[in-house]
Structures are given as C-alpha cells and as structure tokens.
C-alpha cells in the first residue's frame, strides 16, 4: 500500500544502481537522480533501484516496500563504473533541475533562513550544523549561493557548478556508452523487452483463462439449476392439473 510503481514500468529499461557503503545520503540521492536523468535523456523512461551493497534502497522506492528487481537490465555500480570520476558525478546535478524552479526554491530557502550569505564559506563544520535532512536540490542551491565551498568530500564540493565543464566532458561519454549498449538497436534489449512482455501476456492469459473457466462453471451450474427448475415446474403443473380435475 502507498508505494508508487509507475504504471508504464513494464516497458521501461530497468537499472539497478549500487552505491558504496558510507556515502552520504545527499550524495547518493543526487547520484541516483543524475543517473536516471542522463539515461532518460538518452533512452527515454527508465526505472531505477538504488541500494547500498545490495541491502538498502535509495530514494526511488521506500525501504519498506521495495524489492530488488530480479530482472534488472543492467546494474550500475557507481564506484566500479566511475572509479576516480565518482565524485565528479555530482557536477552534473544542475542538469536535473528545472530552471524555473530554481529561483522559487532559492527564495524559499532564503525565507526559511537557510540560504547562505554570498560571502560565506561552506565547509564540514557548516554541514554538521544543519539539523535537517538535506535534499540534493537544496544543497545544490546552497553551495552555489555561498561564496566558496571547502568540504573534505569531493562529491560535496562538486555540487558547485563547474565553470570549465571538464567533468561533463569526462562523464558524458560514459553515459553515451551505457545508453548505446541499451538502445533498442542493441540486439539484447528488444529480446529482453519481448521476454518481459511475453511473461506479462502469459500472466494475463492465465487470468483470462481463469475467468473463462469460472464463467463456464457458472454457466453449467446455471443450466443445471434451470433444468432442475423446469422439472419442478413440470411436477407442479401436473399436480395443479390433477387438483383441478379432482375439484371438478
């Protein structure tokens, strides 16, 4: 109950994303969103399941309700895939934001007293002082509003928009490569989709067959009941006729 699985998830490509244990929630959430965004830009709708070492689920499904899809099309191990470039992944976070929403959110953070001053330095001490679970969008706005950032974790520093786009140049080809290996032109992908759709068709067929046999059973029972009723009517008509004869 209450879990949200998109209605069109049958046809969506399914990616499982594994993140290393110990990475911050705000970073893991951001990475998952970036991966989904970049893959959707290239492949259309994808579904994504995020977990730590195969156990925990990230932001796309709640921990209580999610189950690791047994038929994911591809597993992305963030650490293994990106290697030294992993921290740079968060540089792409700005791409996931609607430009019209940024200004509104910036004003709201200011209203709530959470927007850093333009001459402030955001560092680990500042981060420790935030007593709220930070969402990636808010964190992105905060680090880009501040005068400078100085975190021990490079993934956090990388939220600040890259000026020279070197990270994008590094990362985009990796996403292109993943997308290419999962495009519909790739021989394995249509086969997987056909397999999934076939399984769904089989399930539906079984359901229909079940309904058909239920209906047949109901029709047979109804016919039997009708025959029984006809016989009873015959007996009653006969009795009535005899009663009328006796009465006359």
């Amino acid at each position: 109950m209450f879990e949200l699985t998109p209605v069109d998830s049958t046809l969506a490509l399914r990616f499982g994303v594994v993140r290393p244990t110990g990475s911050r929630q705000v970073v893991a959430t951001a990475e998952a969103r970036i991966v989904r965004h970049e893959l959707e830009r290239r492949l259309g709708v994808v579904t994504l399941d995020l977990r730590v070492d195969g156990d925990e689920i990230g932001p796309w499904k709640s921990l209580a309700t999610a189950s690791w899809p047994t038929d994911v099309d591809h597993v992305i191990d963030n650490h293994q895939l990106w290697g030294d470039a992993t921290p740079a992944l968060t540089t792409l976070f700005g791409r996931t934001l609607e430009s019209s929403a940024i200004g509104v959110r910036r004003r709201m953070l200011n209203h709530l007293g959470l927007l850093p001053a333009s001459d402030s330095v955001l560092d680990d001490e500042w981060l420790a002082g935030i007593d709220l679970p930070l969402r990636p969008t808010d964190f992105w706005i905060m680090v880009n509003a501040a005068g400078s950032v100085n975190f021990g974790d490079r993934a956090l520093t990388s939220f600040r928009t890259s000026k020279d786009h070197t990270d994008e140049i590094l990362l985009d080809p990796i996403f292109d490569q993943i997308a290419e290996s999962h495009s519909v032109d790739h021989p394995a992908i249509p086969a997987k989709l056909i397999q999934r759709l076939t399984a769904e068709c089989d399930e539906l067929r079984q359901r229909v067959a079940g309904s058909e046999s239920d209906m047949l059973r109901a029709a047979t029972e109804a016919a039997d009941a009708l025959d029984h009723a006809r016989a009873e009517i015959g007996v009653l008509v006969d009795r009535l006729a005899r009663a009328e004869i006796r009465a006359s």
Binding site: M1, D8, A64, V104, L112
Partner: protein, 270 residues
C-alpha cells in the same frame, strides 16, 4: 531560522499516530493559533487510515501566533501521540510552513492538509493511486461544507488573476482536470514537488501560493486533478483566528503571470 521538533506523547490521545521508521506518506499540516479543531482533524485523519495498511507520519508545523504562542501546542500535546511538531521561531506563513514540514518529511508522497478537515474512511487510497501516473502532478478530493454541499471541485483561474471555486466539472478518465485545487488537501509525489520548486514565499503569509504552484506545474506539463469520487469536509476559515488579506498576494500573482489567460488551459464546465 531555528525550529524545535517535539514528538507528542499524550497518555490518552485522541489521535494516536503509529510509529513508522520508513513512512510512505508524510501528512503535513500548518497551524497558526489553531484551536482544538486540529485535534478533531488529526483524530479523523488517523481513524480514516486504520484500514489503509500504509505506513505514514504526521508533521504539524506550528507557526507561533503572537496572541498565544502555546495555544496549538497545548492541544497537540494533550490530544495526540506520535505527531512530530515543528515549531519555527517565527511565522513562516502557509507556504513556508509547508516547506519546512516537507524538509522534515521522510516519505516520497507528500500530503498537505489543512487543520480544519474531517476525513472519512476510504478517502486516501484512491487519491494516492492516481499518483502512479507520472503525468499527474497534484491530486485533490472534492471539498464539501459541513452540511454536505459542495465547497469546491478545484478552482478556475480567471484572466483577472482572481480565482473561482468550481461546483461542477467534466469527468475524463475518472478525473476532473482543474486549473488548480485549494491546498487545503492535496497530494504530490515529493520529486514532483521538488521539480516544480515548491511554494513561493512571495505570497507570504498565505493565499495564492497554491494557484502559483499549479501554474508552474501546468507550464511543466503536469495535470492538476480532482477525483470526483472522493470528498472530505473542509471547515473553511476555522483553521486560524486570523484571515490574511489577499490583495497583495493577488498583485504578486498578476505581475508574476501577466499572460495567465493563455498559459492556462480552460476547464469545460457543465
């Protein structure tokens, strides 16, 4: 801005929110000098969810009212258990209150609810089901008055920037598309709320922030719908002793969306 967070622990609660480590839905209520009606609202909310089987949390953002900063808190502490009460050090308004509540929320579905609502069993499940459709941005029930008459089936945004509650609507796919629905009760996926940017503080303290958010949702292609099969009772105006004026907020709306008349799809009425 600082805010305290208290979890209510009344030994004899009218509203007892079951503990949930990983809630699927976060209900966010904003109060401002709200009286006992908030307890009635929470009691009916919790009762209506008993059979739903979902895990949820309730967050009340208690904006301090200048006349009595403790009024709502006293009711909450006496009448509820398991409610997370966020107490900002100043009045953040309705939009700001919703947003600070959303920051504390842990679930991926947000349900903003006024503190003057009566819920009946079965109201929630159909609404949350609609959120499976990624094209739906905001979903709301029909709001009724205490006498059962219809208060609104969403609102129509007029070219003047003012809004008009609708009492009828055209059903399509079981839903009624509207310009916007009052944020007295609406559900959104959290990622959708973030994608749109959430409430705009320029409408502080209240009114028109829901219409503004709906316009932005519309521009980004999101549907704002009302489920005509679901209704709740909204005791309009009972949530706060103060009713803010709306002229300034209307002014912001008109200046923000000068081309309102052509950015909004019209809703056919019968």
């Amino acid at each position: 801005m600082t805010s305290d967070v208290i979890v209510s622990r009344s030994p004899v609660p009218s509203a007892d929110v079951p503990a949930s480590v990983h809630p699927s839905v976060s209900f966010v209520l904003v109060t401002f000098g709200t009286d006992r009606i908030v307890i009635d609202t929470l009691t009916s909310l919790v009762s209506s969810l008993i059979d739903a089987g979902g895990k949820y949390e309730v967050i009340v953002v208690d904006n301090p009212h200048p006349s009595d900063r403790q009024r709502t808190l006293r009711h909450l502490l006496l009448g509820t258990r398991g409610v997370r009460i966020v107490r900002p050090d100043r009045n953040l308004g309705f939009g700001g209150g919703c947003e600070i509540g959303a920051l504390h929320a842990r679930a991926e579905i947000l349900c903003f609810v006024n503190p003057d609502i009566t819920f009946a069993a079965g109201w929630f499940e159909p609404l949350v089901e609609h959120l499976r459709d990624p094209g739906i941005s905001i979903v709301s029930p029909v709001l009724c008055n205490a006498d059962g008459s219809i208060q609104e089936i969403g609102h129509r945004l007029l070219p003047t920037g003012w809004t008009l509650p609708q009492l009828v609507g055209t059903v399509s796919d079981g839903l009624i598309d509207v310009d916007f629905a009052s944020a007295a009760c609406w559900l959104m996926r959290r990622d959708e709320h973030e994608r749109i940017g959430g409430f705009d503080p320029d409408y502080h303290p209240a009114y028109f922030e829901d219409a503004d958010l709906a316009v932005r949702s519309s521009i980004l292609g999101g549907r704002r719908v009302v489920d005509p099969t679901v209704s709740i009772i909204h005791h309009h105006g009972a949530s706060t002793p103060d009713t803010p004026t709306t002229l300034a907020q209307h002014d912001v709306m008109v200046k923000r969306w000068p081309h309102l008349r052509w950015t909004q799809p019209r809703v056919a009425t019968t």
